[in-house]
Structure formats: structure tokens, C-alpha cells
Amino acid sequence: MEVRAEMVANVWKVVVAQGDSVTDGDTLVILESMKMEIPVLAEGDGTVSTLHVSEGDVVQEGDVIAVIE
């Protein structure tokens, strides 16, 4: 499952690491956009197989943040 950014934002905190297991609702990263903190959540259970962002990156709408398998 690809977790994508829903809007242009800065990645201010990466909470999980590659290889971590996650369950539905776990915070993967926290984005900052327009002076708001926006958590990006896992939408199912699985393992973080790839993490595509680092703290400080700028993501565009639609960019893949992580892949959960």
C-alpha cells in the first residue's frame, strides 16, 4: 500500500523507520503545512518496506511517503 501526501507540505518528523511493523492508525510521519502539524497515518497493518522521505524534505501532493506491505 502506497501512502501518499495529500498536499504540499514539509516533512518535519519521521516517526517510523524502514522495517518497522505498523498497525492501522499509527503515525508514520508528521507534515507541516500552512502553519499546521498534520500526521500521516497508516491505513492498515503491515511493515514499512520503504520510506521515501527524510525530515526537512518538501513533498508535493501525490508524492509517495512510504510503502507498507
Binding site: E6, M7, V8, A9, W12, K13, E32, S33, M34, K35, M36, E37, I38, E55
Partner: protein, 446 residues
């Protein structure tokens, strides 16, 4: 009195300040980044100066560029608005050193209240009730754990230099505290350049009630009214009202007295707001922090008192008396403000974009302070506020009725817009009853 005022801000607040500056017969200078060149405030000013690219660090927060704009235009006073450098004591000092009038409190007062821990200690000494919490930034994790044990869970972990509702997290127990400490510190370092955190007792059912104060040129501090700002999402206010449905005349007297004492503790001049938490369960009020600037929601206080707060700010900064009798602050009716943001009405995620339609509501008791109009682009560089819809009525019921009609008549297309959320809020039983707390938005979406 100075004749030219440089407004060191953008969008709706710049526009609103410019309006009063011009009404007073003074000249208004606007500054704008490349992203804001087409916004209404730029052409409404008497003169405008381009100050750099969109990024705030290179425009609205660039001290040198702002001072140069003042020098270039012959501005004699600087009004910082809110956000950006409005609570930056160093900017205030630089403005004063350049021989300009700073429209705001002294740099020392800004500093005293800018550090949340120092502010709490200062007002506590002046007899203002404060919430149980740390009296200095927490050192290491083990010290934090001991402090939290004394304070009692749940605790709020907050960035000491934070603001705007960012950099705060609740920890229900020790395990959560250890996680949140690290998170908040990291965030604070990145956002504010200062990793200090403090711990405070967290009240589960609380109302955010704040008091508008004004320190006059003669040294007196007056309280002009309270505002209830409990409708929040992500710890940020989205709707405010005055008077607060939770505040009785007796509590109002206590609140005003405490707020005036807090401001007097730092020899406060000009406009400021003392923010408090009202524990909905016990009725206890505690000092939270003081904002040493004009607040976003100041218009609701203006609507019930008939006082133009920006005008008073300029007069106080010029050493002049205010336009109203400080011993008889007028108050009439009820006012509500709704922050019309470029965000979706369900999950409140930001959605900037080109505005293809913009029609503001009009009618008795309606005031719209907007930063944008049709053809403007709301960009992702700044906060999502597009306009403030402010509604006054003879009483709360009339204000609510007028607000519902105004929300229905307000048309915004292009960016995401949270107007449908306000349509929901204004008929939501908890809000309509007046008996709500800071958990209301979560309950509406839960």
C-alpha cells in the same frame, strides 16, 4: 504624532491595519513578497514596497529588508500585526534604534512574556493564579518524569518558545511522557530554535478564555473584554465569541483583575491579550500565557465595545490618550468570529489555490476582514486564513442567526474552504447551548 506607518505584515491583518491608519488621516506603507503582489492590501496602501520572495524568512521575517523599506518610504512608525516578527523583541529594538515608533509593548515586556516559563513565574509572583507546572525548563528525561509525578497526570508537554498552538502534546502516563518529550523537543528546536520544554497539568475539559488588555500611555492598564476561544482544531482557534457564555459577572471581575495584574507585572503598554484556561469542571481559572500583540480575533471585542483597537494602539504608541473613557468601557450585544481558512471542512487539511469566486456576505452586524479576493492565489507559504467573518447581534441568539445567514451567503471557490464546517457548528447543539469546551471539534468529528 507620526504621519506614516509601515505595516510589517500581509493579508487580512495588513489590510485591516491600513484601513484604520488611513481613517486617522495617516499614510500607510505596505510591504509584500512576490507571492502577495496582487492582494488587495497592496494596492489599498498609499505606498507599497516589494520585499522579497515568498518564503517568510526572506520577506516578512527579514529585519533588514523591513527596516530598509521604512527608511526608503520615510515611515516613522511600524505596526507588526500578528505572527511573523510581532513578538520578536529584537525586531522591536531594531525598529526603535532606527528612530521609529514601535506600535506595541516594550521589547522588555515582549521578552518577559515570550518565554512561557518566565511569564508564568512572573505573574504568579504578582498573585495571578497559574496552573501546576514546571517553574523552569525541564532538564533531562528523569527530571521531567519526577516533575510530572508531582504535577499529576495527564500533563501537557509544551515548547517553551512555542506559539500558534504548535509544539504541544498530552502525555497520559510516564511511558507517553518519555515519547512526547523527545518529539516536542525536536519540533521546538526545528520550529523555534529553542528545545526548552515545560510541563503543565492538563485539564481534560477546559475552556480557553482570554482577556483583551490595553496599557495606556499614562501607565494604567485596562481590561476591555473577554473572548471565548474554545472552538479549536489542532490546538488552533477557528471560532471565537464574546462575551463568553461560561463567564458570570463575578468571574468576569476576577478574570479582568487577574489580567490587569499580569500586564502590570511587566509594565505593559499597548494592546495585549492574557490567555487563561477555565476548568469546565471546577470553575477554576488559571493563567496560561500573555500574547504581547494584537490577536487575530480582536474584531469581536471591537464589535461589542465600539472601540477600534488598532486606533488605540497607534494613539498609545504616539503617547496620546485613547478615544474612550477607560473607567467606562462600553459593551453592547454579542459577537462571533469565524476564521474562513483554505482547508477542507471535514479533516481541516490545507488546500491552497487560485480563487475563482469570492463573494462576501453583507448586512446588519456583519463585518468581513479579508486578505484575498477573486483572482488572488492562496499560496502554501503562509497560514491558511483567507478571511474573518465577524457577526454582531443584540444577544447571542441574534448573533447566531445572523452568522448562519452570513455563512450561507459567503461564496468561495478555488481553494478548499471550511465554510461548511461553520454551517455545521452554528447548528450543533453543543455550540448552540453555549456549554462547550475545547473538545467540541473532536466530538463533532469523532
Amino acid at each position: 504624532m507620526f504621519e506614516t506607518v509601515l505595516v510589517a505584515n500581509r493579508g487580512e491583518i495588513a489590510r485591516r491595519i491600513i484601513r484604520t491608519v488611513q481613517r486617522m488621516g495617516l499614510k500607510a506603507v505596505a510591504v509584500h513578497s512576490e507571492a502577495d503582489v496582487k492582494l488587495p492590501y497592496v494596492r489599498e496602501a498609499d505606498e507599497s514596497v516589494a520585499i522579497g520572495p515568498a518564503a517568510p524568512a526572506q520577506s516578512y521575517r527579514d529585519v533588514e529588508v523591513l527596516l530598509e523599506a521604512a527608511r526608503q518610504t520615510g515611515a516613522e512608525a511600524v505596526h507588526p500585526g500578528y505572527g511573523f516578527l510581532a513578538e520578536d523583541a529584537e525586531f522591536a529594538r531594531r525598529v526603535q534604534k532606527a528612530g521609529l515608533v514601535w506600535v506595541g509593548p516594550s521589547p522588555e515586556a515582549i521578552e518577559a512574556m515570550g518565554d512561557k516559563i518566565r511569564a508564568r513565574n512572573l505573574v504568579a509572583e504578582a498573585g495571578v493564579p497559574v496552573s501546576r507546572g514546571t517553574t523552569r525548563p525541564v532538564g533531562d528525561v528523569e527530571e521531567a518524569v519526577r516533575s510530572a509525578h508531582d504535577i499529576g497526570y495527564p500533563v501537557m508537554v509544551k515548547a517553551s518558545a512555542g506559539g500558534g498552538g504548535m509544539g504541544m502534546a498530552v502525555a497520559e502516563d510516564e511511558a507517553a511522557l518519555r515519547v512526547e518529550l523527545e518529539r516536542v523537543r525536536g519540533f521546538a528546536q526545528r520550529m523555534f530554535g529553542d528545545p526548552s520544554v515545560l510541563l503543565e497539568r492538563f485539564f481534560p475539559r477546559v475552556r480557553h478564555v482570554e482577556v483583551q488588555v490595553l496599557g495606556l500611555a499614562d501607565g494604567r492598564v485596562v481590561a476591555l473584554g473577554e473572548r471565548d476561544c474554545s472552538v479549536q482544531r489542532r490546538n488552533q482557534k477557528v471560532a471565537e465569541e464574546t462575551p463568553s457564555p461560561a463567564v458570570t459577572p463575578e468571574l468576569r471581575e476576577q478574570l479582568f483583575a487577574a489580567a490587569v495584574r499580569a500586564a502590570e507585572a511587566v509594565g505593559y503598554r499597548n494592546a495585549g491579550t492574557v490567555e487563561c484556561l477555565l476548568d469546565a469542571d471546577s470553575g477554576e481559572v488559571v493563567f496560561l500565557e500573555m500574547n504581547t500583540r494584537l490577536q487575530v480575533e480582536h474584531p469581536i471585542t471591537e464589535m461589542v465595545t465600539g472601540i477600534d483597537l488598532v486606533e488605540q494602539q497607534l494613539l498609545v504608541a504616539a503617547g496620546r490618550p485613547v478615544t474612550f473613557d477607560p473607567d467606562a468601557v462600553p459593551t453592547s450585544g454579542h459577537a462571533i468570529e469565524l476564521r474562513v481558512n483554505a482547508e477542507d471542512p471535514v479533516r481541516f487539511l490545507p488546500g491552497p489555490g487560485l480563487i475563482t469566486a469570492w463573494e462576501e456576505p453583507r448586512g446588519p452586524g456583519i463585518r468581513v476582514d479579508s486578505g484575498y479576493t477573486v483572482g488572488n492565489t492562496v499560496t502554501p507559504h503562509y497560514d491558511s486564513l483567507m478571511a474573518k467573518l465577524v457577526v454582531h447581534g443584540a444577544d447571542r441568539a441574534e448573533a447566531l442567526d445572523r452568522a448562519r445567514a452570513a455563512v450561507a451567503a459567503f461564496r468561495v471557490e478555488g481553494p478548499k474552504c471550511n465554510l461548511p464546517f461553520f454551517a455545521e457548528l452554528l447548528v450543533h447543539p453543543e455550540f448552540v447551548s453555549g456549554d462547550y469546551d475545547t473538545g467540541i471539534v473532536a466530538r463533532m468529528r469523532g
